[in-house]
Symmetry: C2
Subunit: 187 residues, 2 copies
DNA sequence: TGGCTTTATTGACTTTGGTCAATGAAAAAC
DNA sequence: GTTTTTCATTGACCAAAGTCAATAAAGCCA
């Protein structure tokens, strides 16, 4: 839980009563390897802080898996679209290793927003931050070659390379496993 | 200004005093065609609601323009990254037609956040919404062919096709003008 | 450990988008 | 309205990623 508090502190410091209120809403949950915490068609009614483990966020189209994102300890994992809009999820969220998460359900979170202005603000900061992350990824990928995209990834997030099977990485980069294999062989 | 209020109402209704407070922070500004409202290197210290006109958001790399986004009447336009972080902008924001914008400066907006919890919430909604837009675009870019991306764009946002020169559209889709021309000829 | 399944690599070939260059059309400037 | 510039189209060719298939390597489970 300390991890979560320090995550929050990067944006804004909660006082002790706000924090206690938050802690009361967290549900600790162990997740075995290769387990889905969200399936296509389900509505995502929680956000989950990752204490341990790795998750991938992907959808299936014409029999092919398309990986949109990976999540690591210290991240929040959720289908934010499904969570916000109440739509059924197009994505699966699956653990790649044995994991531990802390779930906060939507009703509880909305109540926290209502009760504490600081929480409302924290929610804004987190949404803003998510936006910046994705927008940066879009920009950097929109006009770069797959080769450059891979090289950038290696630089910025070498953790991914060791922790995640290559065929998932390829999908995350928007290319085929064979192509990624060839890019890696190129030097 | 009614446009802005109805934009807000899609997310949350402001009461009259909140609205009056907001209106007092808006600075109306006409913008001629092909005018920059933000240049590379400048810090973006405002968000601007578009009353009339079109803007494009792009950066220049190795002599080439890369279009990241277009903005239309009813949208907010800003370099959100530069605005939030106070970094110098990598992007230009340029009007494509004679336009009218309503600027809200950062200091004023932060003060609104402080004064009204509803405003804080509105800020969250807007950030969340921006995130969903970009995240969807990223997904479609990573896993769809340029051809499909174009077809999707035609369906979802036919306004773009009429209003924006084709070479800018091509850049927005991450392809060359010649390729877009050929995709269009394909049927 | 040995056998099975999944994942990664490599090769031959195809498809698609990029490049360069020429031409035509449309829009802007005078 | 005519000139000039910008933009869109088309063709020939090239480069890069995709496809299909075979093989090798790695991981997993009994």
């Amino acid at each position: 839980m300390d991890q979560i508090r320090s995550y929050f502190n990067r944006f804004l410091a909660l006082n002790d009563s706000e924090w206690a209120d938050f802690v009361a809403c967290c549900h600790k949950e162990p997740v075995p390897k290769k387990e889905f915490i969200l399936r296509q068609g389900e509505v995502c009614d929680y956000i989950a802080f990752i204490g341990e483990g790795i998750f991938r966020f992907y959808y299936v189209q014409e029999g092919e898996e398309h990986v949109t994102a990976f999540f690591f300890p210290g991240d929040f994992v959720t289908n934010y679209r499904s969570f916000l809009r109440g739509n059924p999820s197009e994505h699966y969220i699956e653990s790649l290793k044995p994991s531990v998460i802390y779930k906060i359900y939507k009703n509880d979170l909305l109540a926290l927003y209502d009760r504490h202005k600081n929480f409302e603000r924290l929610g804004r900061f987190i949404a803003e931050n998510l936006y910046l992350t994705v927008a940066g990824r879009l920009d950097s990928f929109l006009h770069d070659s797959p080769e450059n995209r891979y090289q950038e990834l290696v630089q910025r997030n070498s953790k991914l390379l060791q922790e995640v099977p290559q065929y998932m990485l390829a999908s995350y980069l928007g290319i085929k496993p064979e192509t990624l294999s060839r890019i890696r062989a190129r030097k």
